[in-house]
Amino acid sequence: MERHYMDSKIKGVSTGVSNVNYVCSKTINKLIQVHDRIFCCIAGSLADAQAVTKTAKFQISLHSIQMESPPLVKAAASVMKELCYNNKEELQAGFITAGWDKKKGPQVYTVALGGMLLSLPFTIGGSGSTYIYGYTDAKYKPDMSREECLQFATNALALAMGRDNVSGGVAHLVVITEGGVEHVVIPGDKLPKFHDE
């Protein structure tokens, strides 16, 4: 049971979407499910990101049917990477792909703007991420439990939303484990508060 939680991956995103200085929507879910146990976080131009994830979802489903087994997280991340790299001039979106597969367990991959693919123990992205690099560097420790991991992600999101004027709204978190996928939604007023709030 202990090991199960320590191996889970938690992804969180905030929900604000803005067009120049106008917030179009406060409640968009930026966590897209591309397969049973694989999710993508999107950042950057949401139009580009949605187009890429729709294409990737189709390609991953096809791949999984051909292989007759659930896709590897790395395969899903590679699909995103191919799309981003081959269309790097036109696209302006970054992705975090995370999930669970039977071969390597929980994994986190990030695909940066130009199409670079990196595997990391944890990663952050989007405009609000600059403000929490220091916090996540200081507070991350390997082998956290599920609750610690959830708390870490929630705190990081709350801090970023507090400083970035284009992040905000509601916090979406997804916990992916061997057993399944669990959604956690935290409205803005229930987020942890820090010293100046």
Partner: protein, 216 residues
């Protein structure tokens, strides 16, 4: 290739792309800064002390254009000396901050420097003032410079009111260390100045003595 790089060096302004922080604690303030000065992509000084003395118990932290920041600090140092002789006692931190603000605001189109003013005086104890773009505002703590963006989350989470002097110093050193590891324009060593009723104490923490975090 060599000609190209030297030309661009001289053409780009010397900036203290930087991380500076000042925090109030119970009975004083702690100021901290990194030590990197860059001109374009070259580091022209890796050990610059960006904590400048304005008066015995008032210091300021420099960021932005190195020349602008240093000049403002020197001018205010002079003006404060004159002021303190006129009033016959140590100047207030707010006075020092106001002098910095006056220069920053009047010449805001020409200058591009941000100074954080912090110190101790008898009336208000430890105080931290920000003077960005000519505004004057007192805050419990302030961060500035290019490296500050990366540590907003960390300082928001970790700051507590009424810390002890040692906790405050540790908080400042941790913040600077985190910012230096993420910001390309911050680096080198960390300088700390602790100001309380007794006076100002300067300290330099070398690169290998800085706190490290999980990936270092």
């Amino acid at each position: 290739m060599l000609e190209e790089s030297t030309e661009s060096e001289w053409q780009s302004e010397v900036k203290t792309g930087t991380t500076i922080i000042a925090v109030e604690f119970n009975g004083g303030v702690v100021l901290g800064s990194d030590s990197r000065v860059s001109a374009g992509e070259t580091v022209v000084n890796r050990v610059m002390n960006k904590l400048s003395l304005l008066h015995d118990k008032i210091y300021c932290a420099l960021s932005g254009s190195a020349a602008d920041a240093q000049t403002i600090a020197e001018m205010v140092n002079y003006q404060l000396d004159v002021h303190s002789i006129e009033i016959g006692e140590d100047p207030q931190v707010r006075s020092a901050a106001t002098l910095v603000k006056n220069i920053s605001y009047k010449y805001k189109e020409e200058l591009s420097a941000h100074l954080i003013v912090a110190g101790w005086d008898r009336r208000g104890g430890g105080q931290v003032f920000v003077t960005l773009n000519g505004l004057l505002s007192r805050q419990p703590f302030a961060v500035g410079g290019s490296g500050s963006s990366y540590v907003y989350g960390f300082v928001d989470a970790e700051y507590q009111k009424g810390m002890s002097k040692e906790d405050c110093q540790q908080f400042v050193v941790n913040t600077i260390s985190l910012a230096m590891s993420r910001d390309g324009s911050s680096g080198g060593v960390a300088y700390l100045v602790t100001i309380d009723e007794k006076g100002a104490e300067e300290k330099c923490i070398l690169g290998n003595e800085l706190p490290t975090f999980y990936d270092q």
